[in-house]
Symmetry: C2
Subunit: 338 residues, 2 copies
């Protein structure tokens, strides 16, 4: 292999929606694994909404990216050189090595992809961070009860699609909100959601939700925030649970818009609203992955990937993701002929 | 006694803040206890913020008052006639008999005031609904941990003053927000709060909270909503808990003002916000009352009452309460010379 590692780095902090000029594709030498490390050639890069937050210089649950730093993110790749007993050449691993062709993995920051019978790309999607986010967020924060009416925003996305299907497995009635008729047809036809609302063509979200949820909303799994969430919250049922998983509608706003306060709705319904970060469930990831994998094998959980080839397309595809133009889990596939 | 029962009834639904003309003082015959009932002469009427919600024709956790109906509310009084073994003449009881001089109590809707060594008026305050609201809301929803920074709004009120004192007993650092320098002096000097912020003279609540809570806010017990709460929520600490107990700043608004969304703060801090109604803890009221009473006896919980004589003053005093002009638990004392 040529000793060239292509990397996507943060060139400038986006103002509002990211632009191509906020990213740079740079070349650097491929690293050599120190003792305890392995060199991994990436086969898939994961593109996820949370990355937008890292590009801001703002307080959050992790420090921001520095200018010039490789964009954070999970990858799946193959070990090509090793200096540790933990990984052998040829192992397929998953780790947070960022948007680059080659990365150095340590055993505490990468792990072998555990299910050889399931496509490896799922380690970034339904069996990876997004799937675990759906699993733990919905079950442990949402606490569904059979018969509950569950509303999921970004319902065809990497997290939302899993939430809705687990909700069906849990005996709930599931209403998905998504941004195209094609997505609505998918969540209803393929994934078994009971109802779908296309927020891009629905003039009165409140009325649409009233129609879809005549008894109110017991669990709202929120990936988006903003006007969709503002329409959901006045329709909570008694003892409703609101899971704050993502707020993608807000990530690209310089100044968040004002909204009607939701506190009264929480008060009169004795409802709970809770934010979470999936890593807080890390001790149970193995349990979660095993259960998700079994559901995938049994055909009870379906997934859809939105794959683009070439690391040079990562910035453009990330921008598409920010605009909701993805359809399923967004991935970049790398396949250099070496 | 004359066979006249004076009652305060709802004459019209308030638009915004209630006015005297929204209430009527009417006379009716004193009722005769049916089998299973006792006739109670009220000695104290309770005035509480939640009553404002009952005056609207809006969906809430209980049905609204009808026009012409006696205003709901707890009272403490003395049994003057009885037609049940549950109550004897002379018993001092507490029940939800509303703003009237005489009411008929059934054993399932009234109970003997349990602590003869503590003034009976406390059955409407620190040992009654407001005290239990503070006790269960703070301990069970707020889940304080020793060392937490706790912020309480309406800190000198019937609920807030108890929350702050229990927080001190739980080993927390307590910051109270109230609306006068006198109230701030009281919560700091008498009740032992660590800090106080007078929101009526503080131009920048955010800066004041930053100064009072340099490590962020672990528990926010909210009695008010509105701009005070908007200033608190961006300052939540990791895994903060927000207890939505009341929203008095919103009760008299025809159209709630827009506010910056709090959802991002909940997300990045993995924080929880939860509304509750004290009656959901009914099964544990006896435990709560006993513990509060012991703290009162031990001098660990102090309380302050804001007492006005005469049922005819109830509407005016309720309006004062709505405007935050009370100082302590608002009561009307009835003492006709009969």
């Amino acid at each position: 292999m040529r000793n060239v590692n292509r990397q996507v780095v943060l060139k400038s902090r986006p103002k509002g929606y990211p632009e191509l000029s906020d990213f740079d594709l740079v070349e650097s030498p491929i690293g050599d694994p120190d003792p305890g490390e392995a060199l991994v050639r990436a086969r898939y890069l994961s593109l996820d909404p949370y990355m937008r937050g890292r590009m801001n210089d703002a307080r959050s649950y992790v420090p921001p990216l520095a200018i010039g730093e490789v964009i954070v993110g999970g990858i799946v790749g193959e070990v090509v050189r090793t200096n540790t007993d933990a990984f052998a050449v040829g192992d397929v691993v998953e780790g947070r090595l960022g948007w680059q062709e080659y990365g150095l993995a340590r055993p505490d920051a990468a792990r072998k992809v555990p299910f050889p019978d399931i496509p490896e790309s799922t380690a970034l999607g339904i069996l990876g961070m997004p799937g675990l986010t759906a699993y733990f967020g919905f079950l442990e924060i949402g606490r569904p009860v059979s018969g509950d009416t569950v509303v999921v925003s970004a319902a065809s996305g990497a997290v939302g699609a899993v939430v809705g299907q687990i909700a069906k497995l849990a005996g709930c009635r599931v209403v998905g909100i998504a941004g195209s008729d094609e997505k609505i047809a998918y969540i209803r036809g393929e994934l078994g959601f009971d109802e779908g609302v296309n927020h891009r063509v629905t003039e009165d979200m409140g009325a649409a939700l009233d129609g879809a949820c005549p008894d109110g909303i017991d669990v709202y799994f929120d990936n988006v925030g903003g006007p969709i969430t503002d329409a959901v919250l006045p329709r909570l049922a008694l003892r409703a649970r609101v899971v704050i998983c993502g707020q993608i509608s807000q990530y690209n706003l310089e100044q968040p818009p004002m909204a009607p306060s939701a506190l009264r709705h929480l008060l009169i319904n004795q409802a709970r609203m809770e934010g979470f970060i999936v890593t807080s469930f890390q001790a149970k990831f193995e349990e979660g992955r095993a259960r998700l994998a079994q559901w995938v094998r049994d055909g009870k959980l379906k997934y859809r990937e939105d794959v683009t080839d070439g690391i040079e397309n990562a910035p453009e595809q990330f921008i598409e993701l920010m605009r909701g133009h993805n359809f399923g889990k967004k991935l970049i596939r790398l396949s250099r002929g070496e």
